[in-house]
Structures are given as structure tokens and as C-alpha cells.
């Protein structure tokens, strides 16, 4: 049995940033995660956008956190050594209906204090992005929008939390919660932990975690999303495109930090776990060809599915803002944090950590180190992933830092993300993983 000041449940991007920011205080913290590694659920399948902040009502938490997060993202990405590109974005419209949406976003954005937001003509938009079709008539240009590698971001926060003394429990699903002697008794599959406070970041399961102790007050509804990834060697737009159609939100196109183009569908009904649907994929094809007629779908190297979690009131009304529940002074739940959750992960973590520190009357931790270094390696190690030119030493470093599966290596190094999708390097990587496992067994 172990006792902590704070238990963070869930190691997605939100849990990792909550843990990182808690370490700024003199608190003992444990991060508890079901899976064998962090960032393996919702965080693994998203659009990687750091939003400018014009999508949200002035005065909302989403608006203020997004604008703040966006303006400090260069610093954050430098601090955590994570690839980030402030590539800008164009929200495009084909007609008057779309234009009215752009106008509303412009007005909202100006109220939210977003710098250099401009409504421009189709021709001006095509000057910025020549791939845009001639049927685009208006666009909202937001130079501050950016894109980050979402896995590297979440994993960087995780590593930073760990380096600052956060305890990590992987392979540990929380199965029950109870109050015992003024503390929380947290039971995982094989352990019992006590804590004075809980920050519940269990993503899709956050509602279930909260319901273990408190009467149900909110619920979630699941939607799906489909994605296409294009080869980094193919030609694609240089900035993010949000398509606004006559029927509402269209597709999103993101030139990722790794050089690939990512296309994602508007929300669609939930299918199976992280599965793509032919309907969703054909919507992307149709809309993408309308938006960028020269885009060549022969360059698609992968498609994958995502899960969108939408928070609702118990009588089924959409909750538009971030849904932070606090059923008790020392218990916080992030319920159904969807877009812009990635953008605001550090801000949400900061917010929760400071609330938590003040309730627990914790002082600042003078030894907190905000910097974390990414994996870098010298040129004398042989190449393992020929598509992305990743070296063996980088893979070995990823293993030392906690990768236990091929996906874990992929998220940390980019191995297997390229044209061949791991068909040339996967075995060698599995081999290195096994070697590590064996050397571990040997030491026990």
C-alpha cells in the first residue's frame, strides 16, 4: 500500500500534462494508466492542430485557454523539445453561407484577441495556398494556427513529470474508488493506493471513474472520425485548411510536422473501436478533391479511425465548453475533453495543478525542471527505418525511455510512419524490444 498527495488517473495527453504541472509544487504524485504505455487512446488519433482560438465564444474557458495556449506554444515546444510548426491556417468557404460562418468566426476571434486574423478573397487565399480550387471564394486566414506532433507532446510531458519525481503506474486499470478516513482508496487490478486528491483524466472512461464515487451528473456520447495520411514525399498544402461547406464543417487538411499530410473527416456516427468507415473515407475523398483538385490519392499511405467523446448533461444536452467536474473539493474530472484538448493540455494541467495545490496548501517546488530533451543521436548508428531515416540508437533510446511496443517506438521516434508503414523495419524493432525484455528478466 502506498500513499500520495495526488493521484492522476489516465495517461493521455491531459493526464500527462496534469502530472507535469503538479510537479511544480511540493506534492507527491502518482500517474495511473491502464495501458502498457501513455498516449495510446484518444490522444493517438487526432488532427494535431494547435488552434488559434476563434471557434469559441468570448468569455468561455475554451476561448481563453486556447488563445493563451497558442501564444505560448513556441515556448512550450522549446521547453519540451517537441516538433511544432506555426504554419497558419485558412478556413475556406465556397459561397455566402460559408462566408457568414467565417464572419462570425472573425468577429469571435477578434473579441478573443487573436492576432492578424483576416477575411480574404478566394484569389488572395490561392496566393497563399496555390493548391486551393478556384471554387473557394472566401477564406479566414489565421497565421497563428500551428501543428504539433501529438504523441511526442504527450510523451514529453510524461517524461518531464517522471524526471521531476512523479511516480508512474502502467498496466494498472483503476477498478474501484472509495473514501476511507478522509482519503481516497484507489484499487487497480493488482494494487491499492491512497491519495488526498484525485485528478481524473481517464478520457472516454472519466465518467465511469467519477460515477464510482458520486451520483451520475453528466454523460458522454461517442462520435467517430476517419483519417487519411499521405506520403511525406507527395505535394500538399503548406498550411492547415478547414473546409466550410454549405452543410457545415467539411474536411481538415494538416501538413504535419513530420512532413505528411493528414486529412480528417467531419464527425460521423461511432463505428467500432478506432475503425475507419467507407462512408467517412469517401466523404474525405470527395471533399478533398473539391478543395484541392490536384491532390493525388495514390499517395495515401494509411487510413485510421478516431473516437470523439462529447460531453452531455444527464438529459442529453451538449456541453459546449470544457467540462471540468468537481463533485468534491479534492476531486476533479475532465469529462469528454475534445477539440481543442490537445492545444490546451498544458493550460488545463496548469489550471488543475494550481487548484489542487491551493486546496492541499502545497508550496512551489523550487527544484522543478521544466525542460526535457528529445531523443537525438549521432550519425554513427545504422539506419533502421529507411522511410524516415531513423537510426538504431534512437530506437534503443526510445526503449530505454519506456517504449514497450512497436507503436510506442513509432510514437517516440517516427519509425514505421513512412511509405512502407513499418514493413521493412518492424521486425528489427520487435527484436530490439524482445532483447530489452529478456535483459530485464535476467536482472530479476
Amino acid at each position: 500500500m502506498k500513499s500520495f498527495d495526488v493521484a492522476v488517473i489516465g495517461g493521455g495527453v491531459l493526464g500527462c500534462f496534469a502530472a507535469r504541472n503538479l510537479m511544480r509544487y511540493r506534492l507527491s504524485v502518482v500517474l495511473i494508466e491502464t495501458r502498457e504505455d501513455v498516449c495510446m487512446e484518444i490522444t493517438r488519433a487526432n488532427s494535431a492542430i494547435i488552434y488559434a482560438g476563434y471557434d469559441h465564444h468570448p468569455g468561455s474557458l475554451k476561448a481563453s485557454l486556447t488563445v493563451r495556449a497558442n501564444s505560448s506554444f513556441d515556448d512550450l515546444s522549446r521547453e519540451l523539445d517537441v516538433p511544432f510548426s506555426r504554419c497558419g491556417s485558412l478556413m475556406t468557404a465556397y459561397g455566402e453561407q460559408g462566408l457568414s460562418v467565417l464572419r462570425k468566426k472573425l468577429e469571435q476571434g477578434q473579441k478573443n484577441g487573436i492576432p492578424n486574423l483576416r477575411l480574404i478573397s478566394g484569389d488572395e487565399a490561392r496566393e497563399i495556398e496555390p493548391m486551393l480550387s478556384s471554387s473557394v471564394r472566401y477564406a479566414l486566414y489565421a497565421p497563428s494556427t500551428g501543428t504539433v506532433n501529438p504523441w511526442k507532446l504527450g510523451i514529453a510531458a510524461f517524461e518531464n513529470a517522471r524526471a521531476n519525481g512523479c511516480e508512474i503506474l502502467l498496466n494498472s486499470p483503476v477498478v474501484s474508488l472509495e473514501k476511507e478516513g478522509g482519503q481516497y482508496r484507489i484499487e487497480t487490478a493488482d494494487k491499492e493506493i491512497f491519495s488526498k486528491a484525485i485528478i481524473n483524466c481517464a478520457g472516454r472512461s472519466a465518467v465511469n471513474i467519477q460515477d464510482m464515487l458520486f451520483p451520475p451528473s453528466v454523460r458522454i456520447r461517442l462520435d467517430g472520425a476517419d483519417f487519411y495520411v499521405f506520403d511525406s514525399r507527395s505535394s500538399h498544402p503548406g498550411l492547415i485548411l478547414f473546409e466550410e461547406t454549405e452543410n457545415g464543417k467539411g474536411i481538415t487538411a494538416v501538413p504535419c510536422t513530420e512532413g505528411n499530410l493528414l486529412l480528417d473527416s467531419p464527425p460521423r456516427p461511432y463505428a467500432a473501436e478506432y475503425a475507419t468507415t467507407s462512408e467517412g473515407l469517401s466523404v474525405i475523398r470527395k471533399e478533398a478533391s473539391k478543395l484541392m483538385p490536384s491532390l493525388d490519392f495514390h499517395n495515401v499511405i494509411r487510413s485510421f479511425g478516431g473516437i470523439r467523446v462529447n460531453p452531455e448533461t444527464s438529459d442529453g444536452k451538449d456541453i459546449r465548453d470544457f467540462c471540468i467536474q468537481r463533485p468534491e473539493k479534492t476531486f476533479w474530472s475532465l469529462i469528454g475533453v475534445k477539440t481543442p484538448g490537445l492545444t490546451c493540455a498544458n493550460e488545463l494541467g496548469t489550471l488543475l495543478a494550481s487548484d489542487c495545490a491551493s486546496v492541499l496548501e502545497a508550496q512551489q517546488n523550487p527544484n522543478f525542471l521544466p525542460e526535457r530533451k528529445a531523443i537525438h543521436c549521432s550519425a554513427d548508428s545504422p539506419i533502421i527505418c529507411q522511410c524516415e531515416n531513423i537510426r538504431k540508437a534512437e530506437v534503443q533510446a526510445a526503449i530505454l525511455r519506456g517504449a514497450v511496443t512497436f507503436d510506442g517506438i513509432k510514437h517516440r521516434t517516427g519509425c514505421g510512419m513512412g511509405t512502407c508503414q513499418g514493413s521493412r523495419c518492424r521486425y528489427e524493432i520487435e527484436h530490439l524490444l524482445k532483447e530489452k525484455e529478456r535483459s530485464h528478466e535476467g536482472t530479476i
Binding site: 514525399r233 499511405i301 550519425a379 512502407c420 514493413s423
Partner: protein, 287 residues
């Protein structure tokens, strides 16, 4: 490592070996091979099936091919060419830059993974490309678990069907044509074997997460499986060209030029490319 050669050969598979031999025996001594893997041989090293030359398997064939390989030809193995530059130079994984007058691109071919096929559903573990599984089994002693489904009945699909049968797995081959499309020799290996062949259909959806549970076919059938292989064709491996057209100082050979189904034609093309290089060398600019 010298910094410049008249002819640089990227890829030490059958095509690169054959080209290097021909150049050397014709007296062209300023040549080198760069090979990503630890040894020469390329795809031959992962072929445990017979069908190369006079009834040899791929590894034996590679051995005979290398028997009379001139020992003085510089071969840099475990070294990858990362980039090619228009000033006729190549950046290697060890940081060296090699300049050359002509280049033989013998980088072989690549397979098409499920991710790039119009197949919906999940992306579970258990889905591989056929050549990848071939390498895992024959070079790394991996033992896959069945039942297996193979998409495509071309040569590689049929070769893998045979290999998995030999390992005792239950095998289903799905093919969109009405018949097996591989060479007669690869079809013959399967006659009388207990294999389920489903012609005239394809895979629409993959199911199961995180591990594979099966596939749904275009005719609506669901085939449960634990292993899924894509064997739907090969593409010349030309990533080093970064999408550009082939300039006159680069000569592709072997599967990097076009996909060959017989080793004899790869050897022949390696040699003929070398002859062409010799004829171009007089006119090629000096370094």
C-alpha cells in the same frame, strides 16, 4: 572509405551484384556498392522456396552468385544512402558524402501495406505484408499463429501460402480475379494441398483491436483469422528520387527498374545496365 568513384551502385541485391561484377570484369575499377543490410544478397536471402535457377532456393542461389564475386570490389554494408544530390553525390547514413560520375540504382522493390489499400476497419497487430512475413520467418525464425488470410494470389502470395502451410497453419487466399495469378511453378507447389482459395472477391474491412479477429470480404463473408498478409503487388523502390524524374546519370536496374518475376532477368538486366554505364562513362563529366 574513398570519397569518389566513377560508378556508385546503391543496393547489393541480385541486380547490384550482377552490375558490379560486369563492371569489374570489364576493367572498370572505380566502383563501390552501398548496401543497407549487413550482407549482400537482397531479397534472395529471405527466400526459402526453390525456384531460382536450377532448383535452388534463394539463399543457395545468392551463395553461388557471390562465389565468384571479385573480393576487391568495395562493399559498404550496414550503410544506407539517405539522399542523392543533383551534383552527383550521395549522403550516406554514416555521414560520408560520396561523389560519383554515374549511379546504378538497384534498390529493389517495396510492397503495398494494408494502410495504403482501400480497406476500412481497424489497424490491429497481426497484419503484415507478405515479404515482411517471409523475412520474419526465414531470417528471424519467427513462428506466426494461424489461421491466416493472404490477399492476392500472385507469386509472393502463393509462395507465402506454401510457407504457412509448411508451418502447419490453416491458409485462405483471397483473389479478386477468377483464378490464381502467380507463375505455374508457384501454383504447382500448392496442388493437392489443403488450402482455401476464394476467387472473385476482395477484403473490404479488417476487424479486431488491438489484435486481429478477421476480415470481411466484398461478398459479405467474414473470415476469422489471426494473421493477415497483403500480397497485392510490388512497386519499384525509388524513394531516393524524391518524386523527381530519373536524370540521365542515374540508371535503375533490377526490381528498381521494373518488377521482375525471374531471377535470370534481374541478373541479365544488372549486366546490361553495366554495359550501358561503360558506354556512357566516356561522355560523363569527370568529378
Amino acid at each position: 572509405m574513398k570519397e569518389q568513384y566513377d560508378v556508385l551502385i546503391i543496393g547489393g541485391g541480385a541486380a547490384g551484384i550482377s552490375a558490379a561484377k560486369t563492371l569489374w570484369l570489364s576493367g572498370c575499377r572505380s566502383i563501390a556498392i552501398i548496401e543497407h543490410k549487413p550482407s549482400l544478397g537482397g531479397i534472395l536471402l529471405q527466400c526459402a522456396h526453390t525456384g531460382f535457377g536450377a532448383g535452388l532456393d534463394g539463399r543457395d542461389y545468392a551463395e553461388t552468385l557471390l562465389m565468384d564475386f571479385p573480393k576487391d570490389i568495395p562493399c559498404f554494408c550496414s550503410t544506407t544512402v539517405i539522399r542523392l544530390f543533383p551534383d552527383r553525390s550521395a549522403l550516406l547514413s554514416n555521414g560520408h558524402i560520396i561523389r560519383f560520375r554515374l549511379l546504378i540504382l538497384a534498390t529493389g522493390c517495396r510492397e503495398i501495406p494494408f494502410g495504403s489499400l482501400p480497406v476500412t476497419g481497424t489497424r490491429p497487430s497481426g497484419a503484415f505484408t507478405a515479404g515482411q512475413m517471409q523475412e520474419m520467418i526465414n531470417c528471424h525464425h519467427y513462428l506466426p499463429e494461424g489461421p491466416a488470410v493472404i490477399l492476392g494470389s500472385g507469386d509472393i502470395g502463393l509462395i507465402m501460402a506454401w510457407q504457412l502451410l509448411e508451418l502447419g497453419l490453416k491458409v485462405t487466399v483471397v483473389e479478386k480475379e477468377s483464378h490464381m495469378t502467380g507463375l505455374p511453378v508457384n501454383r504447382a507447389r500448392l496442388t493437392g494441398r489443403d488450402i482455401c482459395f476464394l476467387p472473385g472477391t476482395t477484403i473490404l474491412e479488417i476487424k479486431g483491436m488491438p489484435s486481429l479477429s478477421g476480415v470481411t470480404l466484398s461478398d459479405g463473408r467474414f473470415i476469422p483469422c489471426r494473421l493477415l498478409l497483403s500480397a497485392v503487388g510490388l512497386l519499384p523502390q525509388r524513394e531516393l528520387l524524391e518524386g523527381r524524374k530519373i536524370p540521365d546519370w542515374i540508371l535503375p536496374a533490377g526490381n528498381c527498374s521494373h518488377i521482375h518475376s525471374r531471377i535470370e532477368s534481374v541478373i541479365k538486366e544488372g549486366a546490361s545496365t553495366a554495359v550501358k554505364v561503360l558506354s556512357l562513362l566516356d561522355r560523363a563529366p569527370s568529378i
